[in-house]
């Protein structure tokens, strides 16, 4: 199986098969990440599309200093934040629930935490996602978000406190 960096090199050379493989590897993860920021599936899919087009066109600029995943997430994050800024200027981003309104029964702990996740700010939910779902280190999260490591830890501390209350 090709490594992500090898795939990016092939994409930079115009290899469409490699691009499809990269898409299959990252589209779902990118959608989940962007969804934690936007909480709107339609807009999150638009951002995934814009992100992957940017990956196709910019693969030659990938310098290999970061992981491919954080490079792609960085592009997706910028595009999602642009969208949020437009929303603040008056274009509405409709909100939808983070989780299914028809959850499987009998998993009360998970349901309470899911509900609590919806009440977190984007900043806090993002750190929870990148830590627990993407398994990024706090240093990688800091670089991706452009904030000091202490800020990442602080966001996690507050998010964890709120989520833990849901478990109590």
């Amino acid at each position: 199986m090709s490594t992500d960096k090898h795939l990016i090199e092939q994409v930079a050379e115009g290899d469409e098969m490699a691009f499809r493989t990269l898409y299959d590897r990252y589209s779902e993860r990118t959608l989940r990440y962007v969804y934690t920021l936007l909480r709107n599936r339609h807009l999150a899919e638009d951002v995934v599309q814009d992100t992957m087009v940017a990956v196709w066109r910019g693969a030659g600029r990938f310098a290999g200093r970061s992981k491919v995943s954080t490079w792609i997430f960085g592009i997706a994050r910028n595009k999602a934040l642009d969208l949020l800024r437009r929303e603040k200027r008056g274009e509405r981003v409709p909100d939808t629930p983070l989780v299914s309104p028809d959850p499987a029964p009998g998993i009360q702990r998970d349901e309470r935490v899911k509900a609590a996740l919806q009440t977190l700010s984007e900043d806090h939910r993002e750190v929870v996602f990148l830590t627990f779902y993407e398994h990024l280190s706090y240093a990688e999260i800091g670089r991706l978000l452009g904030v000091p490591e202490g800020t990442v830890k602080s966001r996690m501390f507050h998010a964890k406190k709120k989520l833990a209350e849901a478990l109590a």
Partner: protein, 125 residues
Amino acid sequence: MSDCRAIQELIPWYVAGSLSPEERQRVAGHLLECEACREELAVVLNLQLASQAAFSEIERPSPEVWQGIRERTQKDRTARLDLGSFLLGFTMGARVRGGRVPMRADLRVLGRKVPLFNTERGGLK
């Protein structure tokens, strides 16, 4: 214990498996001796499981997303010049991508690619 605050800050990344070996060892050593931090560990483990379940419920992108990408990227064109053999050769490529025409060239020496230039190399985006 005075170290508890610092250790509890690291526990989410301990649970996620993304600490450096040194930090991991430090947290593990502390957990052996501190019941309060073991309780915190149990809470964070539960949080991780529940959050992963929540994020996993977001389904993969619809097929229209890929179709849209194909429509937008197929307008891009690539031109390529390839000289020599697998062991020793020269490749130069140019393409039209999103209104730009980036170019790159590589030497092939004993099957390995040696970059000569790439007009795209730069920042993230």
